[in-house]
């Protein structure tokens, strides 16, 4: 064994802390473990300290103004029929209309503010004037509409008209619009809420908008009621259209949004029933899987469709009966804040459904 050089000997003599050979890993260290030092520090921090009272928040630079209600819009003032000067008929279709109907159309011109051709929902009096004679002919001659209870329709202010819905094509809506326009003074144009699907159909979306119909969004609904207009809703939605022969005149579950909006806008809800629309295109069977695949709300089989092609969708010449019920003034009892109570809104929606079902049962 060779001897260690002198320098190394010196180092060995210095004890366990010599740096040349390093620390003995098995030797128990007397120095405190840094891990426990750290743990102690953490525990020290974890000791709850007495709480100080929180410092008051600095005052905002600009105190926020309290919420103010939106300014009321100037409502379109439709004159009474007696104030309307009877316009000259502009064509042979116009000549088919009676004086009263032409007066109504002249009055509806006032729904558009200013001299613009459209209102803010795309309603065009010109298009309405052009199509009204056809709708009027259907009203008088094809569906032979009889109606009752017009006294229940408020002559002014926001109103929600809640109706049953049936028939593949919305002739029930068209006949209701004609009926309300002809039997109110000053004339009121019901703004029917249509399904979003209809809004995505080429040409149909334009046609509906020009006749004053709207897509059922929160903003559209609220805006029209704020404007003091009469909004026609079909709370059954597409479920009403899908009803088969076996479900005729049996209302499907109602949606609730219209009650909420009516409460907020302090608008009465007038229940109404259209008798006849359930018979206009009796659906024998709804091919739901096919409808889903084609992206359609309904794929019906009727006695005439699809056997006669698109002609098979046309309604049979059934007679319509339209009955308006007494207005339900929920807003007077529950106020606009009632709209925030989901259970109450659901309950009131069921009350409207019951009222419409009663009208249907009594007048069939």
């Amino acid at each position: 064994m060779s001897e260690l050089p002198p320098a190394t000997e010196v180092l060995l003599e210095e004890g366990p802390d010599d740096r040349a050979l390093g620390r003995d890993p098995f030797e128990e260290s007397l120095a405190p473990d840094p891990l426990f030092e750290r743990l102690d520090a953490i525990e020290g921090r974890l000791v709850p300290k007495p709480r100080r009272a929180p410092e008051p928040l600095p005052a905002p630079i600009r105190p926020r103004a309290p919420r103010r209600s939106l300014p009321r819009r100037s409502r379109p003032a439709v004159p009474a029929l007696a104030e309307i000067e009877l316009p000259e008929p502009s064509g042979w279709l116009d000549r088919l209309l009676g004086d009263d109907a032409r007066r109504v159309l002249a009055a509806l011109n006032h729904l558009v503010e200013g001299d613009g051709p459209y209102d803010r929902f795309g309603f065009s009096p010109d298009v309405t004037r052009a199509t009204f004679p056809i709708a009027h002919a259907l009203y008088r001659g094809y569906f032979r509409v009889k109606s009752d209870g017009h006294a229940h329709l408020p002559s002014a202010g926001p109103v929600v008209l809640a109706s049953n819905h049936a028939g593949l094509l919305p002739f029930d809506a068209a006949m209701t619009i004609v009926d309300v326009a002809l039997h109110t003074d000053p004339p009121r144009l019901p703004r029917a809420v249509v399904d979003r699907w209809a809004g995505s159909l080429p040409w149909v979306n334009i046609f509906y908008a020009r006749l004053g119909q709207i897509i059922g969004t929160r903003e559209n609904f609220t805006d029209l009621l704020d404007d003091g207009q009469l909004v026609l809703v079909f709370p059954e939605g597409m479920e009403g259209v899908r009803k088969t022969v076996a479900q005729r005149y049996r209302l499907q579950p109602f949606r609730v949004g219209f009650v909420e909006h009516a409460l907020r806008a302090r608008a009465p809800i007038v229940p109404m029933a259209v008798i006849g629309s359930d018979d206009q295109t009796p659906i024998l069977y709804d091919l739901k899987p096919l409808a889903r695949r084609l992206g359609l709300p309904v794929a019906p089989i009727t006695p005439t469709f699809p056997w006669l092609g698109p002609l098979g969708l046309l309604p049979y010449p059934v007679s319509y009966r339209i009955v308006y019920g007494e207005p339900l003034d929920f807003h007077e009892r529950f106020g606009p804040e009632g709209a925030d109570d989901a259970r109450l809104v659901r309950y009131l929606s069921n009350q409207v459904r019951r009222a419409v079902q009663l009208l249907l049962d009594r007048n069939r």
Partner: protein, 339 residues
């Protein structure tokens, strides 16, 4: 007394804003900023020994020029306390949303401007113009929209609209800032006399054949550039912050608006629009609106009652077709004094 900096003052809406503020006695000084040379119409504003308007050329989408502007002695001496952010809008459709460092130019600009406004001690107000095309459009020829309506966060929206949405969200995020008052004005299609249309993704940009979806004719809400400038002025002086819809009284279908501005339109079945657009470009035909964006099918009008309540904004201009001196018909804006 406000001291205002107006961005993109060399573009049409920016020019109009500067002109309107120039005639406002409560605006003490204006620093107009643009990428190009000062417009000729500014000559009379810039003339004189101590003009109320100064003009600076700055590329707002780049960090260094923007930083130089905010730290310049000119900016400090002008004691600017209000920034009016008019985004770039006069560019052609192809250049309307160029990408800079992964962001659309408009988004990069907005982000940088917001950052500098928050850092600059003297700046206490930011009034920004946004687009009303940021809203999600439900199906339908017309949809009424208010400030609470949902934004279109669909990842498939066209890049042009995406950049507007990004800007909107950047600005919206600071609306409740206690030090900086942020007012965001969402404007629809802006119309200027002479047949010019801005901020409509379907119509602004390159002149050429306009594609539109067959069977759809969405209603376009309109506002005149003068009313936009009035709204900016109202927002500067109002002591409030928030998001506001700004629109005029008129709303017309897209086909009518196209006709008014002398743009030929070609209806194409909606699913075929991208294909038709590609083919047309291959054939060297300029086309606009070559995407299946919702605004080509569905329209909207805006509820401006919040702006009326908080800013005192009421549109004063009527927009319509007028006969020009050469006998042709052009879109014009006419101010109407309300009783």
């Amino acid at each position: 007394m406000a001291r205002v900096m107006v961005t993109h003052a060399d573009e049409p809406i920016g020019r109009r804003v500067v002109k309107t503020l120039y005639h406002d006695d409560r605006v003490h000084g204006i620093l107009a900023v643009g990428q190009g040379p000062p417009p000729r119409s500014f000559d009379r504003f810039l003339a004189g020994s101590d003009p109320r308007v100064e003009y600076a050329r700055v590329d707002l989408a780049k960090h260094r020029p923007m930083s130089d502007l905010f730290h310049s002695s000119r900016f400090r001496s002008a004691e600017i306390d209000t920034i009016v952010y008019v985004p770039r809008h006069g560019a052609t459709a192809a250049d309307s949303a160029p990408i800079l460092a992964g962001l659309a130019e408009r988004t990069a600009e907005t982000r940088l401007l917001m950052q500098h406004c928050l850092e600059a001690q003297g700046v206490s107000n930011l009034v920004a113009l946004g687009s009303a095309f940021v809203y999600r459009l439900p199906p339908g020829n017309v949809n009424r929209l208010d400030e609470h309506s949902e934004l279109d966060l669909d990842p498939d929206v066209p890049p042009e609209i995406r950049s507007w949405i990004d800007c909107d969200m950047i600005l919206h995020g600071e609306v409740h800032n206690d030090r900086l008052r942020v007012v965001l004005l969402r404007v629809p299609t802006v119309v200027a006399s002479g047949g010019y249309v801005y901020l409509n993704p379907a119509l602004s940009g390159a002149r050429g054949r306009q594609l539109r979806a067959l069977g759809f004719d969405p209603i376009c809400a309109l506002v005149s550039e003068k009313d936009v400038a009035h709204a900016v002025r109202a927002a500067i002086h109002a002591r409030t912050s928030g998001v506001y819809n700004i629109a005029g009284r008129e709303a017309v279908p897209l086909s009518v608006l196209s006709r008014w501005i002398g743009r030929a339109t070609t209806p194409i079945p909606d699913p075929l629009i991208p294909l038709a657009s590609s083919v047309a470009r291959m054939l060297g035909v300029k086309v606009a609106g070559g995407t299946r964006a919702p605004h080509l099918r569905y329209g909207f009008t805006l509820d401006t009652r919040r702006a009326e309540r908080d800013l005192g904004f009421l549109p004063v201009d009527r927009i319509g077709l007028a006969r020009a001196g050469d006998g042709s018909y052009r879109i014009e804006t006419v101010s109407v004094v309300h009783a």
